[in-house]
């Protein structure tokens, strides 16, 4: 997890294009300036970052299902529930599933756990559009390789 770059997902554990599910891991750093303010004496991951981690997990799933032809952008968050505290150094396991594929949008549900404990969940809606800039596609390709996105699921031009 590189919080400074908003890269919250470390590795893809499982991607099932047919079932439209993904499981990823995200290692919360032991130290970060965020924890100095959130909160002194009681450092925890901000709920917005947990939500972003669920969104990025869903995003990788959508990229795979859409064969990297379109880029998903978070549009709506519903039923976001922070169910438990997430502390520095903990490992998040995040599962996401596509609930609906509309025209130009998709809806996912996501859950994050620490061990067996459910720590947050949300229903997320994404708009998706063709990659607006080639540099973004290049970046996503590099990120995909970095986090272990199954390379057979990444079309190459």
């Amino acid at each position: 997890m590189q919080l400074e770059y908003f890269q919250l997902i470390d590795r893809i554990i499982d991607l099932n294009i047919v079932e439209k599910t993904i499981t990823v891991e995200a290692q919360v750093p032991q130290t970060n300036t965020i924890f100095e303010g959130h909160f002194p004496g009681f450092p925890i991951m901000p709920g917005v970052l947990l939500t972003e981690a669920m969104a990025q997990s869903s995003g990788w799933l959508l990229l795979g299902v859409m064969k990297f032809e379109r880029m998903p952008f978070l549009a709506m968050i519903k039923q976001a529930k922070m169910r438990g505290f997430v502390s520095p150094g903990q490992l998040l396991t995040i599962e996401a599933k596509i609930e609906h594929e509309g025209s130009g949008f998709a809806v996912t549900s996501a859950k994050a756990r620490v061990g067996k404990d459910l720590v947050c969940s949300a229903d997320l809606t994404f708009r998706h559009i063709p990659f607006p800039d080639p540099a973004l596609r290049v970046h996503m390709d590099a990120m995909a390789e970095k986090i272990g996105f199954p390379q057979q699921a990444v079309p190459h031009d």
């Binding site: 549009a75 609906h100 509309g102 025209s103 949008f105 809606t125």
Partner: protein
């Protein structure tokens, strides 16, 4: 009054918190009801689910942008109901 319109009106009322009695078949979703594109995603999701279809929003938007269709054809609710009926019929005939 088509049952499709009633379902759409109920979805819009619930999704966008618009009083149901202000929604008529002649209402324009954007111009009269003030529904923006984000709210319309929510409505599209609910309509897709309710009718078991996939409303081709991108195609419709493209047609409007290209001047091949007017927003009234898709976003006046009685017309939207007709489009949905067509999509449901096409699905049922396997078209």
């Amino acid at each position: 009054m088509s049952s499709t319109f009633e379902q759409i009106a109920n979805i819009i009322a619930e999704t966008c918190d618009i009083p149901r009695d202000t929604i008529t078949p002649e209402s324009h979703a954007i111009d009269d009801l003030g529904i923006d594109s984000l709210d319309f995603l929510d409505i599209a999701f609910a309509i897709d689910k309710a009718f078991g279809i996939k409303m081709p929003l991108e195609k419709w938007t493209q047609e409007v942008n290209d001047g091949k269709a007017t927003t009234e054809q898709y976003f006046v609710l009685k017309n939207l109901a007709d489009r949905i009926d067509e999509l449901v019929a096409a699905k049922n005939t396997g078209a």
